[in-house]
Amino acid sequence: MAKYSTNEFKAGLKIMLDADPCAIIENEFIKPGKGQAFNRVKIRNLKNGRIIERTFKSGESVEGADVVDVDIQYLYRDGDFWHFMMPDTFEQYQADKNTVADSVKWLKDQAICTMTLWNDLPLSVTPPNFVELSITDTDPGLKGDTSGGGGKPATLETGAVVRVPLFVQIGEMIKVDTRTGEYVSRVKE
């Protein structure tokens, strides 16, 4: 993998740090007029999501990380593994529990997700921003209540629990924003 000089640092660049792939979030070049130049960098560790700050001596170079985002279709779960397929090449990837992490509660068969690959191995999975899922369990609400005030918890087919308005019933499809975990609307079939 290519090396990058601190002079090439910018938000989004993927580099290796302490043997983990990381993404640069923010890069500040600091240099006293007559002194040593530094790059103060805010970095996300792509394996555990943690954000750290590091300082580099300007002019140093670091190893790039072979990290790419691909659109990929979720197929099925098989025990401890979740299987995905590239829609164009039919190449399959399997991701473990750490990799799918919280995304698991939004994964529905056939959904096109974003998978981050590091050296061609799955690093993380991001579900689509909006998913449509059916409600498998929720308290029966009062008929005619359309206010939505307060709402109630509803369990979805994937196991996720979201707050929905009182009028939404078991068996109905709803649209959810996976970034916030919030109910958006009912889906007319």
Binding site: K31, P32, K34
Partner: protein, 326 residues
């Protein structure tokens, strides 16, 4: 304006810049300081290992000449001073390789001026007057802070910046979440000072609308004179506006031998870091031999000053064509 051909800055910035420059010229005209021009492309350049330069070949095959874009007009202006020009100022471009960021552009505008028979205090006073004039501020209400490097450094870190005690620097780093400093700086006292100053101290200067830090540790003398009464400090000051480094002033070193010794030391640092050695500028050294008058001088970053004047967040907001559009 998103297209790359178009200026990055708002067109109003062009007027603000022109206004700033005409004020500066008026300030110096009133004080009978002569505006001069010196070459930006020279046969020599400085040895400072922290200042990376651009170089290019002048074609006169087969004996092409290596030429250097100046990181500041200092040497040539001092040659004018040695020749008897009297107090002079220059507004020009300066070039520093590898410097790019919110507060850095590889090509930038500099105001540099020298005052014959001024001591450091007089130059500090004049710098304040110029800045108040350009910023249209009143001295009594400007809340100007003037303090020594040591006082500032010790107040914030409890470390002595003039005496290097590695162990106390390391324990300071460990207890202040600066562990990167330990591996980066090693036993390099000057780099420790740069690290702590830029990471911890400078950010805290943002509370001051105008702050002058003077009496730098002797190891950070650069081209300034070592204080005659206290060899631990250098006759150097820096100006910060809201935490942004804006200018750097010296009581100018006039001793040729001392100057040559510093060039040699810097080249030694270059050698130890595997950097290219730099030929000592013979014209500049000969000018010092001929006799540089007692003088103080200062360089001020004009693009940064314009940033402050216009409340901008980055140099890109004040330059029509910053590096990526140049």
């Amino acid at each position: 304006m998103n297209a790359q051909w178009a200026p990055a800055c708002n067109l109003k910035q062009l007027q603000c810049r022109a206004q700033m420059l005409s004020k500066i010229r008026a300030f110096f005209e009133q004080r009978k300081v002569l505006e001069v021009e010196t070459p930006l492309l020279c046969h020599s350049t400085g040895t400072d290992p922290q200042l990376d330069f651009f170089s290019s070949a002048y074609h006169c095959s087969p004996n092409n000449k290596q030429m250097y874009l100046q990181t500041s007009p200092e040497f040539a202006m001092k040659r004018l001073l040695a020749a008897g020009s009297g107090s002079i100022y220059q507004i020009c471009k300066a070039f520093r390789n590898g410097e790019s960021g919110r507060f850095h552009n590889p090509e930038f505008s500099i105001l540099e001026w020298y005052r014959v028979n001024y001591n450091l205090q007089q130059l500090m006073d004049e710098t304040i007057e110029l800045l108040l004039y350009v910023l249209e501020k009143n001295k009594s209400t400007a809340n100007i802070k003037v303090l020594t490097y040591s006082a500032l450094f010790e107040d914030i870190t409890a470390l002595n910046p003039c005496v290097f005690c590695l162990q106390s620097y390391i324990s300071y780093a460990e207890s202040n979440d600066l562990t990167d400093a330990i591996s980066l700086c090693g036993k390099d006292h000057s780099m420790w000072l740069d690290f702590i100053f830029s990471h911890i101290i400078q950010p805290q200067l943002d509370q001051y609308p105008l702050c002058i830090v003077y009496a730098y540790p002797a190891i950070q003398a650069s081209l300034s004179r070592i204080n005659i009464d206290n060899p631990a400090i250098a006759d150097r000051f820096e100006v910060f506006i809201k935490g942004i480094e804006i200018a750097n002033g010296f009581l100018e070193l006039a001793d040729r031998n001392e100057q040559e010794r510093r060039f040699d030391q810097e080249n030694e640092v270059r050698r130890s870091k595997g950097m290219m050695l730099v030929k000592k500028d013979p014209y500049f050294l000969d000018a010092l031999s001929a006799g540089l008058p007692e003088c103080s001088g200062i360089a001020l970053g004009l693009d940064r000053l314009l940033m402050i004047l216009t409340n901008s967040h980055s140099l890109k907001e004040v330059m029509p064509f910053p590096f990526d559009r140049a």
